[in-house]
């Protein structure tokens, strides 16, 4: 009986080539939208600029012109970091959900967010560090160490890390580091709390292009690794047994995936602070558009997450101008309801 139903259902589905074309079109449209929003993000801010000023600043830079300086020193670094960090979070979220086969998994699960936060708070409280540029390095160090520790701990003993152990080790190390952060926070003077709470909101403001360049290198490496394992992730999604039967080296895939998540999520957290929700939500959105194929899920997730973070950054700049709301907060406040709407209205919530 079920077999017959299955047969009739598949007979009414569209041919595969049409589905593929539609997917490619959607991806193309999302990238085009991202470009348009990127242009908008240079224009919008506490000082409004015209399109011609952007052209002039890009092709005939004049260091005495204020709006050129605004574009090169403020708007472009911000744009670069928002797009790169967003894409990194989206891609790493998709990888994380694929290898753990868990819809609750997010890039922070490898301990990178907690590690970055612990490193920043220790740097601020003990080292007296107070500039955002230095936070970036601390956070990068902390995220990397935490990621390595989680992977190393989960890989202990013979058969290599399995997804459940990875999740639990990540959750355990995250909570240990978060508790340490909390303890330092409660015992330190309140100026430390003030500095920390601003970092922890997650923002792309006030970083320079050097941070952007480092982020770009790290994200490129991460994305390349993702590209090499993307098709293996499809096999992993079918379960360990089936994956092995299909000839996938699970241990190698898992290791590379962890490396990619560490590079991507670690550098994104370092550059923009702990912005968790993007990496959690984007893969779900991507799956609802692209279907189960991980190669497409990865691409969509990266593009959509970049779009989300960029839009959140623009809204955060506009909504209470001339003051600003951090992009991490806007992401949660606007992304959350949007996500809920999708869960109720579309096939995203169908298991």
């Amino acid at each position: 009986m079920t077999r017959v139903q299955g047969f009739t259902a598949s007979a009414t589905e569209k041919p595969l080539s049409v589905v593929r074309q539609a997917r490619a079109l959607w991806l193309f449209a999302s990238i085009a939208l991202l470009c348009a929003v990127a242009a908008l993000s240079i224009l919008v801010g506490s000082r409004s600029l015209t399109g011609s000023a952007i052209g002039a600043a890009l092709f005939a830079f004049d260091p005495r012109n204020d709006s050129h300086l605004v574009i090169w020193n403020l708007r472009i670094p911000r744009l670069v970091i928002a797009v790169l960090a967003g894409a990194a979070l989206g891609a790493s979220g998709a990888v994380m959900q694929a290898i753990t086969r868990n819809p609750l998994a997010e890039p922070g699960l490898l301990g990178v967010n907690a590690g970055a936060a612990a490193a920043v708070i220790l740097g601020v409280a003990l080292g007296g560090i107070s500039s955002i540029q230095h936070y970036v390095w601390l956070a990068f160090l902390g995220a990397g160490l935490a990621g390595i520790a989680v992977f190393g701990l989960a890989a202990q003993g013979g058969r290599g890390p399995d997804p459940l152990r990875l999740i639990l080790a990540g959750a355990a190390l995250s909570i240990i580091l978060a508790s340490l952060t909390g303890i330092v926070l409660l015992n330190a003077p309140s100026s430390v709390l003030d500095a920390f709470r601003n970092w922890a909101a997650g923002s792309v403001d006030g970083r320079d292009l050097q941070v952007g360049a480092i982020l770009a290198v790290s994200v490129t490496c991460g994305v390349l690794i993702c590209a090499t394992i993307a098709s293996n992730l499809n096999a992993v999604a079918l379960g360990d047994e089936v994956g092995r039967a299909l000839g996938v080296d699970l241990r190698r895939t898992l290791m590379l995936a962890c490396l990619a998540v560490m590079l991507l999520a670690g550098s994104a957290t370092a550059a923009a602070g702990p912005i968790g929700f993007v990496g959690l939500m984007a893969p779900h959105l991507a799956r609802s558009i692209a279907g189960p194929d991980q190669r497409w899920v990865l691409s969509f997730s990266a593009v959509l997450a970049a779009l989300l973070l960029l839009v959140a950054d623009i809204i955060g700049r506009v909504i209470v101008a001339p003051s600003e709301v951090a992009a991490g907060i806007v992401t949660a406040l606007i992304g959350g309801p949007f996500f809920l709407f999708l869960v109720r209205r579309t096939r995203i919530g169908r298991s």
């Binding site: 240990i176 909390g182 409660l186 709470r197 907060i329 919530g349």
Partner: protein
Amino acid sequence: MTHVVIRPLGMASFRLHRRSLWVGLLLLVSIILLAVLLLQTGTMALSVSEIWTSLIAPGSHPAADRIIIRIRLPRLLTAVLVGGSLGVSGTIFQSLSRNPLGSPDVIGFTTGAATGAIVQIILFNAGPLQTSLAAIVSGMVTAGLVFVLARKSGTTGSYRLILAGLGLGAVLSGVNTVLLVMGNLDRTASAQLWLAGSLTGRSWSHVLPALIGFAVLLPAVVWHARALEVMETGDDMARQLGISTESRRLGAILTAVALAALATAAAGPIAFIALAAPQLARRLTKAPNLPIITAALTGALLLLAADYLGQHLPFDINMPIGLTTGLLGGIYLLWIVVRR
């Protein structure tokens, strides 16, 4: 033989997992040992015999009586009840969401409770009673909202429940961050303190509601346990076996949220017990069924150990119970995960 059958009255019989029984006994003994240690500890050290006389026949030593009955015993019982409630609550949520990361946060309870408390502290500068009241109310409202949002054409389904919880949780954590970042720095600090949870200054007025609630809810949970075990294999299977999945799910969520609310009211949000206790219990007992009682015992033991550690720290470090729990439970869970 892996199971023991007990027939207390000749008619009703309980089939118990042998290893679970031993693990449970071991946990109980450890809890009692830690409880004695905790009753001894404090600015005024007391011997075991002094504690015993104060508990059994008070009167001979008024100062010791007051310390034991008014201060240390309520604190101890609060810790046991909070740990037990959170352990059970986490077990239910992990089973309902079929997810090892399940905790009262899956349905938004923890984040919602934090929102209520932060609003009270930062916007209204409220006292402890209003704060925990607001926390419980907003936590429960959030949980109800998530359940309603996840409902579609009469069914909930564990996947949609998780997604709705994530979405609403994100909105509320955004609100929390806004308040913490924009609020007055001193009030932010006291909100942080509340968020870390505390066992200081607990009295019998904290213990009694928690005790009554726990005593009422635990049988309800045990009653739900069989149905939940079957539902883990899938809603279709459970329905075929004659379980009305929707009403059972609603009932289980209600009891689990009520347990989490009890714990939050008594000690604030205590991280991680709901996540770690069921996992630890499962790994200790290696039993196939829901480890409800073992999870309760594990949770209580974790909280007592955290309290003991928090009271024996060098350098006068301020270390609230919630953070100690996170530290201790995290290290223990890590050890359990790594060892295998």
